[in-house]
Structures are given as C-alpha cells and as structure tokens.
Amino acid sequence: MSPKSLNPRLQALKTEIEGYAKEFGLDFFETVFEVLSYDELNMVAAYGGFPNRYPHWRWGMDYERLSKGYEYGLSKIYELVINNDPCYAYLLESNAEVDQKLVMAHVYGHCDFFKNNFFFAHTNRKMMDEMANHATRVRRWVDKIGVEKVEDFIDRSLSLENLIDYHSPYIRRNPDPRRAEEESKSNERVEGFKVTREYMRGFVNPKEFLEQQRRKVEEEKQKAKKLPERPQRDVLLFLLEHSPLEPWEFDILALLREEAYYFAPQGQTKIMNEGWASYWHSTMMTKRALKDQEIIDYADHHSGTMGTRPGAINPYKLGLELFRDIEDRWDRGRFGKEWDECDDLRARRAWDRKLGQGREKIFEVRKHYNDVTFIDTFLTPEFALDQKLFVYGYNEKRNSWEIVDREFRKVKNKLLLQLTNFGQPIIEVVDGNYENRGELLLAHKHDGQDLKSDYARDTLKNVQTIWRRPVNLITKFEGKGLMLRYDGQNHSEKKVEL
C-alpha cells in the first residue's frame, strides 16, 4: 500500500476544516489523513481500519462484500477513521472536493469523541502499532505451527470473541488477593462466643454448635476455592488463565481478546459516536465550509447518510437527531422538575426559558455517556413520536416482519435491550471444576429470549476444544431449564431446575 500524502489542495482543505473544528471547541488528537484508491480503501476497511492485520479469511469476506458493493454501485465507504493517537483517517482518492470536506468534518467529530468520551479512556492509543505487532506475532506462529492449525484456532476463538466483559475495564471485579488472604485467615479459628466463666464454656458453646460453625467456615473456604469465586463474564479471560493452552494458542487468544476490548467501546457508543460526528459535519459544513455551488451535492450525500430503512435503526440519523434534540431542550430549558410536571400542552409547546445551555450540555453528554445511558436518559416520548420509531416483530402466521407497536415504553425498552451487551446474550463462567471433574460450567443469564440452539451447540463445541474437558451450558428453552453438554464427541442435554 502506498498512502499518498495530501496534495496541496487537500492540505489546504484540511487546515481550513481543522480551523473550524477548533473554533467550535472540538478537542482532538493530531489527525492524519491518507488518500487511498478505492480497492485500498476497501482493504483497509475490511481490516477494520488498520493497514495491517493478521492473516485471516474473514478480512477477505468483508473485502468481498465491500468491493462488490462498490463495483455494482450499491454502496460506498463514506468515512473511515481509527481511534489512535494520532488519529488516522482515510480519504477516497476519487471523491469530489465537497465530499472530502464533508468526510474531514465528520472525522474531526469522531476524533474529538475518541479522545474525550469516557468509554474510550482505557483504549490503547497506539493501537496502530499494536495491530501490526499482532499481525507479526500471528505470522510467526503460522510459520512455526502451520497455517491450517493457526487459522482453525482463530476460527474457534472468534466464535467466543463476544464472551468478554464489556464493563470490566471500568470496574474492579476481582478483589485484591492480599486482602482476600487476610480475610480467609481470620476465618480459620472457630472459637464460638466469648466465655467469661470457664465452667460455662460447655453451655455457651456446645460441641454441636462449634462443629456447625466449623463446617460453615469450611464451606465458606470451599466456596472461596471455587473457580471462579463468583460467576465471571469474561469467559475469554477465564479460558486464558485456566485452560491447558499451548504457548502459541495462549498468545493468539490473548491478542484476540485484546482486540475485542479495543473495539468494544466503538460498539458501545455507535449511536453517539456517529451522531456526534454527523452533528459536527452538518454544523461545520452548513455554517462555515460550504460554497454555494456545493450545496446540492452536500445535501444529497448528507441525506443519503441519514436515510432510514424501516427494519433498522440508522445510528447516524438517530444520534444526530438526539443530539440536536438535547441541544434544543437545554437551550430552551425544557428539562427538570418543572418541565416534567407540566401537563399543559400549550404551555409545553411555547416553553422557552432562553437558557442557551444546549452546546455546553451536548459536550457534557459526549463525555460521560454511552449508547445505553444516552438513550435511557434522553429519549423522550415526543422524540420517539417525532422520529416515528416503532417496534417490529416476526409474525409466524404471515411469515413476515411487521410493525408491532409504537408505544413509547416498548420502543425504548426494545431499543435498550438491543443495545445492552450489544443485544447479545450474557454468558458467564460458573464453575471451572464442575462436578469435581474439571468440567466447565457456563450459564446463560436468560432475559426472556432463547438462544439460537444450533449455534449454541456449535459454539459450545468450540469452547470444548479450548477447555479440552467436557463443557456444559445452563440455559432455558421455551421456559424450561436445560443443560447442554458437549464432551468432546457427543452433544447431550438434560432438563435442570432453575
């Protein structure tokens, strides 16, 4: 790949747009733009934004989709930017000037978000280098072990890729080991209640009672010894720490896990991130950068990005509208107790306290929220109505998808459900020594939706190949508790009480 440095014209545009971005108060890492031809751009996009990734067919799969889409004129990559310091962003060589401006303005929005949003705080800002290192490490293992073996292992690991704990970077889950040790020591001696007169000892602390206490402490200790102590969502970490992996397997699984954690915040803030970037490209373009003759093209492309399909949420559109709504509400003071308690429709419609705090508020929102809290806090009934949001579901009888409801509560709940844990089931490791036979026990925290059972079985199989010993998964199907099991050869299942 031969990234071309910006030609003078683009360089001038960059300086111009960067100026606007700073003027509006955006705060970003140094941003590097590279100009790529369409197939190079497709490649980088397939690699998830990085010029260099470990060899694997799934990049080829994404590349196929992207290049077919481009060649048949169905879709086109519109912007591509990676969270790194400096931020890297790519421009399509053949784009018209107005598009380049639009993309740049959009990119500065993203860069500001990457730098300031709380959920990106822990991410590696030198990921560009790290990814290249990962690629080298995998290539080295491929040379040593063979491409088939390594690729098979990656396939299996990818199948477990989503079994990480998206919140773990922000919480301390495992207690400090030293403190835990002290606690366990204090529990060791069982003395019973304090006795002031020695002859009363047998009555205050009868033997049975002491015995019972001892057993209790013993049990506690057993529980503490249990692996993991309490259910652990980071299944990948558990596998890394406790399964009998070869060094090369350990290395690859560890780096895949690292990458999964790196990408997680982008998934957690998709609506906000795109909404924020769209807010800024539209603000910068319409307030500053656009020339008269560019307005039609700009409007065309902007509306293309904002287009909605009935069967999906467009994060660009939803995010942008919600940020604008927040800005408007805080400008006019439409929040707080008084506003919430006002039932007079006319008064609500004319409500304007002329606070002008909108800009300030959205900057604050972009810093502290992720998609779940963003929607939870700021999605209002008026907004949902205005944006024509609805819940859809599958009608078995008619064999088609249809609109089920437009009621605000349901829309919001569904949306939040879709966003929580990326709309994926929550799976935890419950026991690493199940039945005292070194088996793995996983549990699905059932929240009303069943797992896709064939996929669950196949995934379980992949867990088993890493864990080596039989693996079990407790879940529910059609309201009944079920334990799926794969022992290395056969799948089996049995009913369990939950």
Partner: protein, 369 residues
C-alpha cells in the same frame, strides 16, 4: 496492483466454494437470492460465513425501526437483515447508494457469479426490427437533432480564435458553420425467438416449500434466458394425473392433489410445440419440475419414448429438476438418467433445498445450450 488482502480474499473464496476447510462449509450463507420483484429491485447475493456465536434466535428478537406505517403493517421483504445483533462496531461508515439494478444487469451478475456461458442461438435469425442508433456527429441535420454543447463549443472556439470573445461580456453567437448535429444509422436488429415451457408437478406430494423452490429457480432461469433472448415467450403447464395449460399466476399458486402422470404433461408439451413453435425458427426450452414420484413404470416408459421421439430432437435443451420432498420416491430422475441421461441436450438436476438452487441453475444453464 496486488494488495495484501488478496491472499485472505482468495482463501475466503476457496472456503465458500468448499475447496478448503470443509468444517466451515456449513456456516456459509448465501444471503437472499431473490429480492423485491416489483419495480425490478433485487439484492445482490453476497456469500458470508457466519461463525457460530452464542446469540439469540433472530426471529425471536425483533427490533426497533423507524418510519411510517400502521401497527400490523408488514415490512418489505429484505428490510430486516439477519445478523448477530450489533457487531462490535469499527470506525467505518458505509453509505448505501440504493441504486436500482435492472433485470438485465441482474442477469449479467448472475452470469458472472455462476460463470454461465452465453447461449448459442439456433435457427435462422429473423430480422424483426430496424433500430435507430445515434452513432456520431455531423455538420448537417435537422434542427431537432442539434447538439447544443458541441455547437456552443465550436462557436466559442471560433470566437476566441478570431479574438471576438470578451470574458467580461461572455456572449457566444453560433453561426451556421458552428452547428453540429447528431447523426444516426438505421441498424437491423436480428432477433431470435425463444419459448420457455414450464411444467410442474402439482400432485399432493408437492408442498409449499417445494413450490417455493420451483418459483425461485424459475425466476432465475427466466431472468437469464430473457437476458439471452429478446422477446421470449413463456408457457405454463401444471399436471397431476392430467395436464393443463395455465397462466403464470395459477402455475405458481395452485395446489392440486391426486396422483401423478408425468406423461400427460409431456404430451401437452409436445402438442404445444407442434402447433405453435415450428422448430427451426424457435429456441425451445422445456423445464420440468417434479418430486420424482411417477404413477407407474409404464407411464415413465411412455415419457421417455415421447422425449426421445418428439421432444428432444426439436428443443435446445430439456431440463428436469427434481425437488426433494418427504413423500416422493425420487425414482423418476434415476429412470431419466438411465435412459436419456447421455443425450447432450438433457439437463438433470436434483434440488434438495433452497441452498441447492444455486448449483441447480448452473446445471441447467452451464452448457450454453
């Protein structure tokens, strides 16, 4: 130029074609092959490999959408994309351009995908129409064909050369000599005639699923043949124990019941060919779909005779597609294979499920007949 990713790309393609890594083959999904029919909008098939994850059953999940519509209103097919919820997003934004794909383009894509050869037309090409084609530019012509841009350019060039052009007052006045006109040629457009005769078994054993397969498959056959021939005709025959000719709508939506006499359909097909499509000028494509359960061995013998004597000699290709059904014995394709399977204008294909349609289309159209 060679990109690093081409290695990954070719590896992916090999997996899709089933050449390597057979363990992944079952996760290969072809996406939707048939899209919207109204207004000729269609989605392009893009294969993808869905590595298993713990995930929810898609249909249970539902989701939130945006747009107009009453409660209970159906969403357009294809509006909801199967997928594993939201994947951990990567910093990439795609911009759907929503370009309409015409049926003709679609056929080309199909041809490229399946590497179908173009069909060699048979019979004399009859001249049907003369077509006007604009081929160039002339200095004379009717005013209605005046090429404004070229004329203007000539005039501008002349004025600049003469020094008569003033940028401050950019007035350009074309003279007679500046004018340019589109010129055209009359072209003879050779056209060949083709007819597709669809035959389908609608006996009790053909369920909705089987018919769906026939419907999808004939849509693609239709698309391809229409792309290859201008002005194609279609005839539809349904049969159980007796055969009758029906219109397209009936063909795909009838559910009859009863026994199966395949010979009845072939007899009707023979009559249609004889009366309406004299061989020599027509390219004839009979397609027959059935679950392969015929009434008796006698009837099968009857069918084979009819094929041998009257049908095969006059048609481009006779195609038989056997849709797997839980009830059929599936004997018929074996009988055909033994008797006429060797003939080079017979194409036989077994279609076990929707996924097999892809291969079946290739079986039918792969020979360029």
């Amino acid at each position: 130029m060679s990109l690093k990713i081409h290695q990954d790309h070719s590896r992916f393609k090999e997996i899709v074609r089933g050449k390597i890594k057979a363990n992944l083959k079952k996760y290969v999904q072809k996406g939707e092959m048939i899209g919207k029919r109204g207004k000729d909008l269609i989605s392009i098939p893009v294969p993808f490999i869905d590595v298993p994850h713990f995930k929810y059953g898609h249909k249970e999940q539902g989701g939130v959408g945006q747009g107009d519509g009453e409660i209970g209103q159906q969403l357009a097919p294809g509006a909801v994309q199967p997928g594993s919820g939201r994947q951990a997003g990567q910093g990439e934004g795609e911009h759907a351009l929503e370009v309409d794909v015409s049926l003709d383009e679609l056929a080309q894509i199909l041809g490229e995908e399946l590497q179908l050869p173009n069909i060699e037309h048979r019979g004399r090409e009859r001249i049907l129409t003369q077509k006007i084609k604009y081929t160039g530019i002339n200095t004379t012509g009717p005013e209605s064909l005046r090429h404004f841009k070229r004329t203007y350019k000539r005039a501008l060039r002349r004025q600049i050369a003469m020094g008569a052009y003033d940028p401050a007052v950019p007035v350009v006045i074309p003279m007679r000599e500046d004018r340019r006109y589109r010129s055209y040629k009359l072209q003879n457009v050779p056209e060949t005639n083709a007819v597709i005769i669809y035959m389908m078994d609608v006996s009790g054993s053909m369920g909705d699923e089987q018919k769906e397969i026939v419907r999808i498959e004939s849509f693609w056959l239709d698309t391809w043949l229409r792309h290859q021939y201008k002005g194609i005709e279609c005839r539809y025959i349904i049969h159980d124990a007796v055969a009758r000719e029906v219109d397209r709508e009936t063909f795909f939506h009838t559910r009859e019941s009863g026994g199966t006499m395949i010979s009845s359909a072939y007899k009707l097909c023979r009559e249609i060919i004889k009366s309406d499509y004299p061989s020599g000028t027509w390219n004839i494509y009979p397609f027959h779909f059935s679950d392969g359960d015929n009434w008796s061995a006698d009837d099968t013998r009857n069918c084979v005779e009819m094929l041998r004597a009257d049908v095969l000699p006059v048609v481009n290709q006779f195609a038989y597609g056997q849709v797997e059904s839980p009830y059929g014995s599936g004997q018929f394709i074996k009988d055909l294979r033994e008797t006429v399977g060797e003939m080079d204008n017979v194409a036989l294909s077994e279609i076990s499920d929707k996924d097999a349609i892809y291969q079946s289309i290739r079986d039918f159209l792969g020979r360029g007949k």
